[in-house]
Structure formats: C-alpha cells, structure tokens
C-alpha cells in the first residue's frame, strides 16, 4: 500500500511536518529511492539460483558466508538495476522538492530566474541537473562494470 502512494504526492504533508528546510528534501529523496532498491533487491534474492544454493550448502557453506559468497553476488545484478532506478528518482524528487518548497538550491535558482526572465540562468540550472544526473549514472555504471565483471553481458564495456 505505502509504496503505491506516489512520493511526490506527499509534498504538502512533508512541508507540514518538516517545514521547507533540508530535512524535508532528504526525507522525500529517501522515500523516493528506497522502493526501487527494495523491490529489486527482493526480486534479486528470490531469483538466486536454488541449485547454486543447494550446491553451496552441501559443500559446507552456511550462515554469513552463504549470504556473502552466494546470495549477495547472485542478487547484485538486480540490486544495481534498483540503484540506477533510484538515482533517476532521486534527481527527479530533488528537482521537484527544490522547486516547490525551498529557499535555496538549483531548483530555487531556476524558479527565481524565471521570475526575472533570466533564461540563461534557467538553462544553466537545467544543464547542471543534466550533468549531475549523468555523473551519478556513470558512477552506477562503473560499479556495474566492476562488480559484474564476471557476467558475460557486462564484459568488455558492453554494459547496458
């Protein structure tokens, strides 16, 4: 139920609760990015090959070692998909939060510039978001390339 509420719909409530300072934005961003990661992690763990789990158990791997050597790496491709989704949501949420309820920040800068018809400042703000978003995605892609280097689909820089 909770995850079916679009987190941006909570903005009025969040402003009432936390005011318009940093806490409100952090809360919204956290809320927006937790579900894609949670859902994909859950899906990833559910889909770890049961044959590998059986093999590992019969070779005496259990407890934390089983999680660390089998479950986590097996779920990692899904977790990373979740992370990339979450990064997208993160920027989106931040832009909306900064635009609607803020006293500073890039979004506030853009809205302020709109008031004074400063198109160049608005464009700079948009570009800034684009660059930050690209950087975050590159970082996530880098993590994928390193952590999933065993995966045939991620070898030789053929990342998705």
């Amino acid at each position: 139920m909770v995850r079916n509420i679009p987190h941006l719909a909570l903005i009025p409530l969040v402003i009432l609760w936390f005011g318009i300072d940093e806490t409100a934005k952090i809360f919204l961003v956290a809320l927006g990015s937790v579900f894609p990661i949670y859902l994909n992690t859950y899906h990833g763990i559910r889909n770890v090959d049961p044959q590998l789990l059986e093999m590992a158990r019969s070779y005496g791997v259990k407890g934390f070692a089983l999680f660390w050597h089998v479950v986590l790496p097996g779920a990692l491709p899904s977790i990373l998909v979740g992370v990339r989704f979450a990064l997208g949501f993160m920027w989106l949420t931040l832009i909306v939060a900064e635009t609607i309820s803020a006293t500073d920040g890039i979004g506030y800068l853009a809205m302020d510039a709109r008031e004074f018809m400063q198109t160049d400042v608005v464009l700079v703000a948009i570009l800034l978001y684009a660059v930050l978003g690209k950087l975050a995605d590159l970082c996530a892609k880098g993590l994928e390339l390193w952590w999933l280097r065993w995966h045939p689909a991620y070898q030789r820089g053929e990342g998705v």
Binding site: Q51, M55, S58, Y59, H69, V70, L76, W150, H151
Partner: protein, 270 residues
C-alpha cells in the same frame, strides 16, 4: 575389484529404504550394500528413483522409512565427507575458477592441486562463463576432489557433453578414483558409460533393484571389447525389455549362458 591398497572410501548400508512424494512411491524398500572404495553405477529409466536414491545418499533429502548408514574405516572423524557432482556444473559465475574450487574453506594449495589433477591449471584465473561445458564439469570435479571425499556421488554429470569429451572424462574419473580410493556412486542413462566405469552396475526398476551385475573387466576398458559389448547388451536387454532370445528358447538360453560375457551374441541377435 578396487585396485588401491588402502581404501579411503566409506561403505554404505541401506535397508528397506523408502521415499514417497505425495501418493507417488519412488523407492519401495530398497536394500543396498556398497563396499568401501567400490565403483557403483546406477542406471534405470527416467523416474525410476535413481536420482532420488543419490540425493538420499548425499544427505540432500531424507528417507521416509528404512535405514541408511555409512560403514567401514573412516578418516578419523565421524563426519563423512560426501561430495556430489551434479548434472549441471553449478559453478558460482562470480568467482574465478580457482575460487570456485576453494569453496567451503579449502586451503589454496589443495585447491591448486585439485585443479592440476583435472589439468586446468592454466584456467585458474578465468571466469566460469569463459569455459566450455567439459571444462566446467572438470572444475566441478576438482571442487569435489579438493574436499577429499570419502564418497563421491555423480548425478549424470556427463549427460550434456559430446562423446569425445565424455570419453576423456571417463578416463579422468577412473584415474582419479583409482588414485584417491574414494567410493564412487554414479547415476547415468548411458549403458556404455556404466560398463566403462563400474565395478558393479545396478539397474533400478520401479523403486527397487532389478538387476545387479558385477563387471569383471580389466581396466582401462575398451568399448569395442566383445566382453564389454556383452555386458552392454545384457543391461540394454533388461532396460528395454526386448527379449534377446531366439525363437528356440532352450538353444538360445544355452548360448547365452556359454557366450556371455565373452561375446557380443546378444547385441547381434538384437
């Protein structure tokens, strides 16, 4: 029949072993003795319970009735080292070949040696995804060997391999079995593979032992040896249910008694 002087393997004694899945009874009171160090091959039609039996031996599954115990000399601990090789290699794709062999707290020196035994030293730093099917199964074999098993269970591990690779694997498994002296229990569909590797072949039929044959052939065995072909024919005859008798039964039975296992008579008459 075992050719090693000191047997490292463990024996098995099963009495009245039963396993049901819902209404389906897969094992109906199976009695089986396996000698320490023996090489036993279990064959049978699909669904005859051979994989179920192997999983019981591996401790991956519990019997619904009867007793199953390990016998013979142990390596000092009460905890028998039983390792299984599956139809699929089941390598962890995110670990290199050597890391896969080291799974389950194996010293790296021992893992290296096991990899050397299956002649894959050069691949130790590769990802499993880059290996061929036969190489993957060799890594799986090394992984089992690194644990110094007293009992090695093979569940049709060569089913997916081509004939040439399979024949190489037969030699490799035979050699390692002779060197290590573990007890070998293998499940297969392939009658020729059974005769190639087994001291003793049992045919499971409807949840019980239908046929129990000692294969008295010197190793290494040659598939074209008439005696080899004779054993194959006898097992195939049992499995397919096609009687190999000629119309004149007394004569044919007489022939069979005298000619088996030295000749391929039954194979010809089939």
């Amino acid at each position: 029949m075992t050719e090693q002087s000191t047997s490292w393997g463990v024996g098995i004694r099963a009495r009245n072993l039963q396993r049901h899945f819902g209404d389906l009874t897969v094992l109906k009171g199976l009695d089986l003795d396996i000698r320490a160090g023996e090489s036993l091959v279990i064959i049978g039609r699909s669904g005859c319970g051979k994989s179920t039996l192997l999983r019981l031996l591996a401790g991956l599954d519990q019997p619904d009735g009867g007793q199953l115990e390990f016998t013979g000399e142990t390596s000092g601990t009460s905890d028998h080292s039983v390792r299984m090789m599956y139809q699929e290699p089941r390598l962890l794709p995110w670990k290199t070949v050597i890391e896969n062999v080291e799974i389950g707290k194996v010293e790296s020196a021992r893992a290296k040696f096991a990899l050397h035994e299956v002649e894959l030293d050069s691949k130790s730093q590769e990802w499993p995804a880059s290996l061929s099917g036969g190489q993957k199964q060799r890594v799986a074999l090394a992984r089992a060997l690194a644990h110094r098993p007293e009992l090695l269970l093979l569940d049709e591990p060569l089913g997916a391999l081509d004939a040439l690779t399979r024949s190489t694997m037969h030699r490799l498994i035979e050699t390692l079995w002779q060197e290590h002296g573990f007890t070998l229990v293998m499940v297969t569909h392939d009658v020729s593979e059974a005769v190639m590797l087994a001291d003793r072949v049992i045919v499971l039929d409807d949840g019980a032992i239908g046929l129990d044959v000692n294969i008295r052939l010197p190793r290494p065995r040659v598939a074209t040896d008439p005696a080899f072909v004779g054993y194959e024919a006898r097992l195939l005859e049992y499995l397919t249910g096609v009687p190999a008798e000629a119309p004149d039964e007394t004569v044919s039975k007489h022939k069979r008694a005298t000619l088996l296992p030295e000749s391929g008579y039954l194979a010809i008459s089939n």
